[in-house]
Symmetry: D2
Subunit: 134 residues, 4 copies
């Protein structure tokens, strides 16, 4: 990822702490990719009946993480109320999806890894929420 | 759009009112398209300096409306807390973006039309929020 | 959809025929929504084992149609070689996904409707390809 | 990124070489993020008039890289003709966008870094195209 370099060469200074911001952008991308892959891995399992809710939540979480990462990558004229609201939706999505993936972690290693990605992204979003200007 | 037909032929019954749901899906798609086009039309204007914030908010609103419409298009195993949270982010985005577009409506017809799309989507999201099961 | 109004108020004249362009933007959005809903409806069916490939192709087609519609919504400084290449990928995706959905159309009405959306989008993309400047 | 772990725990074996596949998924995510950030950094520059085409191509490239990365993250029932076609569109987009960013690399460091991300992604896509089963 070039997130840090892109941030450091942006003409406008980021209002939020650069470390927190870069970590959150990277976590959103990692979680989006992981959720795409987990939904697809679940779809390829024999016992798919147990995994329907997991697939569904992975799809939502993939979408939400992808756009939250994109919004955070933009530094020009941000609206911080909107950013915080979207970060809250992203943290909630990662918590709900991570909990569901965690339930299948013993049987399916891809669910265990995806739960890890979700929890890391949830934490990164929560740290970012506290870093957003009031 | 085939949103109504797709909803009526879905194996699981939608928990929310079908009219409200279809209207919100269609409004999200219409607003996403309008925001993509308005960001691009602003980019093609001579006096772009006035329109930087408008472009930025259109980009965020395009992203948020697109995924909110996708989430609403899924009826299998939804998490309603998450749906409500994302709908709240979408309604806020449409209000903020619609307000900014509205400021340029007298000079730029594309901003006036996009403000209309944003307000229609904000209302559709707010109606959908009240229709979501508690 | 506000696609026509947005096109007519854009500061730069579209190089391609407006009717063909608007029809293609709308078909891409309609097909993206239909594919999202069909993947999800398949996920909610009892006999999901038959529908794994259908779900997979719907997910790809949803992604491709969504961004092709977004690219077509931008009139400022387009690269027509790239636009044609992406339209070719979109037309191919709609053909492959529409064929797969068509195979399940007798058993699942959502697949029949989605096949229709895919074919309409394939045709719209093919018309758009011929309308793109050489 | 968890791309490699997700691939290794997927129930279906990837047909293509895992190293090439993981590298391409990661390059697509890195390039999508970089293009989002470069479009936004250009939007924040004083001399934006020179950068209109750069912003436009970054937007297209962001969209194309994001969905190509998502498609590659799915191993269940892929259609390899479609995958190759989308990879060709992605490689072309990275070449065109990278060339445009490269033109502004002397004046704007974010354009120089983004050109690097585009070229890396173009190469990764071209390697992936040769790895896709015929």
């Amino acid at each position: 990822m070039y997130a840090r370099q892109m941030l450091e060469t942006h003409p406008r200074k980021p209002v939020a702490d650069a470390d927190v911001l870069v970590a959150c952008i990277e976590a959103c991308h990692a979680c989006a990719q992981s959720c795409t892959a987990c939904a697809d891995a679940c779809l390829g399992e024999q016992e798919i009946g147990m995994l329907i809710r997991c697939i569904r939540l992975n799809q939502d979480c993939e979408d939400i993480c992808a756009i939250t990462g994109a919004m955070l990558s933009r530094q020009t004229e941000p609206d911080w109320h909107l950013m915080r609201r979207q970060l809250e939706a992203c943290a909630m999505s990662c918590r709900i999806c991570g909990d569901e993936c965690g339930r299948h972690g013993d049987r399916h290693a891809h669910c265990r890894i995806c739960a890890e990605a979700c929890r890391a992204c949830e934490e990164a979003c929560n740290r970012m929420i506290t870093a957003v200007p009031a």
